[in-house]
Amino acid sequence: MTTTSPQANGSGGGSAPIQERDRVTVRFAGDSGDGMQLAGNRFADATAVFGNDFSTLPDFPAEIRAPAGSLAGVSSFQISFSKHQIFTPGDEPDTLVAMNPAALKSHLSALTKGGLLVINEDAFTSGNLKKANYPSNPLADGSLEEYRVIKAPITTAAIAAVDDLGLTTQNAERTKNFFALGLVYWLYDRDLQPTLDWIEDRFGRLPNIAEANRRALHAGHAYGETTEIADAHVRVPPAVLTPGEYRTITGNQALVLGLITASHLTDLELFYGSYPITPASDVLVELAALREFGVRTFQAEDEISAIGTAIGAAYGGGLGVTGTSGPGIALKSEALNLAVMTELPLLVLDVQRSGPSTGMPTKTEQTDLLQVMFGRNGESPLCVLAAKSPGDCFYMVLEAVRLAFQFVTPVVLLSDTYLANTAEPWPVPDVNQLNKIDVPYRKLEHIDPEDFQPYARDPETLARTFVPPGIKGLEHRIGGLEKSDISGDVAYSPENHQRMTDLRGEKIRRIANFIPELEVDGPESGDMLVLSWGSTYGAVFTAVNDAREAGHEIAHAHLQYLNPFPRNLGDVVSRYNKVLIPEANTGQLRMLIRANFLVDAQGYNEVTGQPLSARLLTEAIIKLASE
């Protein structure tokens, strides 16, 4: 499907004047079984086709089937769309669609005062009110006075729309998300066609269900048109984006595409060993469906086996990758250290989630930075990178693979729940424009066995001479015992251990000579620098700009390379009077910055399981800037 110009079709009727707005944030909330994720994703697609920039934030319970109507079972999907470029899914929604009392209860406090509430009044039964702990019906007791409320009989109207299709009551009722979606499409002037196409694609083989969903969608749209909801018909003009071909992408999809592309650019087959864990499982699941690219996925018996198999593949000269979340990293530590000691090119994806322990499996956090830096025995340096946006996950995989092979080292790439699930428009890269990734061992095939030393190092990178099995005359053994410099034989001498410890550390430090310097957005020096890393990029960027609009001169720099740091980082942080480091943890990067550069960096820290709030962060930036 391609669209070149936005159209306002479908918005013909209704006498209420249409208003223009720059940016709107809508949140769909309902029971896990209400299809809110589906509705939200369809809305995102329609928004993409319309030409807005957008960002989404799905939020779902960890329980697969919490009791229907309960607070624990509420699932939501937020989308922010704009005529400008945007970098976050928005803090507070302008519109909340609440499919039942529990959804209203859980999400009302987020809605901006005066915001629009679309409520499925059919679900406000005494039973459901009780499950949501409402002492009285909020639709009747005046407690929603501060909002503009559209009470719609979403369930009954959807059932009526599909009445003569002979569906079971349950299937008929299921179409209510499409009714709600149709109504919201009318409110925001979205084209129905992309969704109608999608329904055909998805349910084409079940013509009755496809027809029911189409009808519910149209009925919801017509409901908006005929009910003439005053003040609610809003249009957000398309954004001016860099020209090109775009698709929608989430962080996890970008990891998958990055891995396949890395396999293409290295000309190596991909081996992905993984044990299912939220929020990293999608990567395993999606890769498993791509065997045509020679992908070998291996659902291991546990986290240790997952990394063990990936190490085996890396040792064999392949593209060995494992992916997990924080609890899995904890289990993989010992094996990761084997890759540090044997110096093998290994990629580890850590899609971070909220901890400690099982924590909140479906919620986001940046709390694994110190774990991946230091959570292993001995002096164990490795390379750590972090993606800053869903689309950036793609490019950081390529970067991680490049460094893993160039430096013959394990590399950890950090993503998180927020990036994993958030969708944004993404300019599709031209694979022919991407640089090939060099695999140094290929040049060693014809090395003279007399000259071969597995721990001889490249003078510039200090990468060791890695040779996978198979080459005659180069047979040798590696392992987790300390290695003798150059020969790689087992060695216990004090001098050698000191030397090898230094070499392993220096090798990782030298990566800094092969990565870009840190760029500063804003003044090159001055009063205040905001330094961020990972998925908070969008929120921090937005907050810094809002603070600038409020009259403060503030610099912003964002780290994608966490070990080693870009070589100019020490210089950058020393050029400002104040350094503020916002993080979704209690100050992990701040600890590293203070320890490395002796700067009195301040923190802005939220550990809520939610992405940083750009609004609260703006306040914090302005406060520190005004001090």
Partner: protein, 351 residues
């Protein structure tokens, strides 16, 4: 239970890469000095491994030894092949990833009773269940050697060791039973002091297509001396061991005067010259049901003779066979290039 004479084994042979020139035992030995205690059973196993590989004439550059941690796991350093001495218990995982991504290599796993059955127990079950084409040699000395003599998961109940000064309080695992219960397609046992038998067993394992599990009884003369001597000593072997051969009756004893037959509770010993001679079982390693194999695995001294040799060998597709065929089919059916994949289901144009 009625048992039929086995049909001729219909086994898929493992394709082993062969060296161009004729190699002798010493071509497989590295120049690293061995570090085992003098008299340790590991020396003999090393020698027989080198001899077996030279009998097959395996190409050394295509051989990889993967081990965990323990005295036994030092093994790869002494082989002039590729090798990785990894971490405790995890060798089967590294071997799996290696073999699945490099089907051209021969991957042998060297492990100990603690390495394979304690810390690495989970991996052993799964590598066997998956039938990954790797050969696992478990050196069972019924003790933790490297950590200096604590009891292991195969130490007998009540055994006095450094960490059980008044005897253990836990029952041991039987490695062969574990392997059979894990759906292993090749299960065998041999021991350090019968070089010929050990060589033959190693070669049989090497030629098996699929995961092979070989328990090698190994004497740790420092911390658990003579653990198997009661039945492996030269003078008593004939009486107390049952050398299994596929298609041959299960006979043992001086002049093969005894045999095994089915009893109400399992197996029993019968007189090969007596009236029950007709009941003596014929060994069928290829029998799909693992029933008799389990009964054999559980035969223990002194009640029963201790079986040696290949207990089970059945043909089944390996994990790699399945995986490779999925890839081949997908490449044929879903022709798609990276550029198409990057576009996903739908794109839009911004101008």
């Amino acid at each position: 239970m009625v048992l039929h004479t086995p049909a001729a084994p219909d086994l898929v042979e493992n394709i082993i890469p062969i060296a161009e020139e004729n190699l002798s035992r010493k071509d497989y030995a590295s120049d690293v000095d061995t570090r085992w205690c003098p008299g340790c059973g590991d020396y003999s196993i090393l020698a027989q491994m080198q001899r077996s590989l030279s009998n097959i004439n395996v190409a050394p550059e295509k051989m990889v030894f993967v081990s965990g941690i323990g005295c036994s796991s030092r093994f790869p350093y002494y082989m002039n092949t590729y090798g990785i001495h990894s971490i405790h218990g995890r060798a089967p995982t590294i071997a799996s990833g290696l073999k699945l991504s490099r089907p051209d290599l021969q991957v042998f796993v060297i492990t100990g009773d603690g390495d394979a059955l304690s810390i690495g127990g989970n991996h052993l079950l799964h590598v066997l269940r998956r039938n990954v084409d790797v050969k696992i040699f478990l050196f069972n000395n019924r003790i933790y050697g490297l950590t200096k003599g604590q009891y292991s998961p195969t130490s007998e109940l009540g055994k006095v060791t450094k960490s059980s000064p008044i005897g253990t309080t836990e029952r041991p695992l039987n490695p062969l039973s574990v392997a059979l219960a894990s759906e292993a397609t090749f299960v065998a046992r041999s021991f350090d002091t019968d070089p010929q038998h050990l060589q033959t067993t190693i070669e049989q394992a090497a030629r098996h297509h699929g995961a092979a599990f070989v328990e090698i009884l190994q004497n740790c003369n420092i911390f658990n001396d003579r653990a198997f001597a009661d039945y492996t000593d030269r003078e008593v072997r004939d009486e107390r061991l049952l050398y299994l051969k596929h298609g041959q009756p299960m006979l043992f004893g001086e002049d093969q005067n005894k045999g095994l037959a089915v009893s109400a509770t399992g197996l029993r010993v019968v007189d090969a010259h007596g009236p029950d001679v007709g009941l003596i079982l014929t060994h069928d390693a290829t029998r799909p049901a693992p029933d008799v194999h389990q009964l054999l695995a559980r035969c223990q001294y002194p009640e029963m003779p201790v079986p040696m040799g290949v207990i089970r060998q059945v043909t089944a597709p390996t994990y790699g066979d399945y995986l490779d065929s999925q890839i081949e089919v997908a490449k044929f059916k879903n022709r798609q290039d990276v550029a198409q994949l990057l576009k996903g289901r739908s794109t839009w144009q911004v101008e």
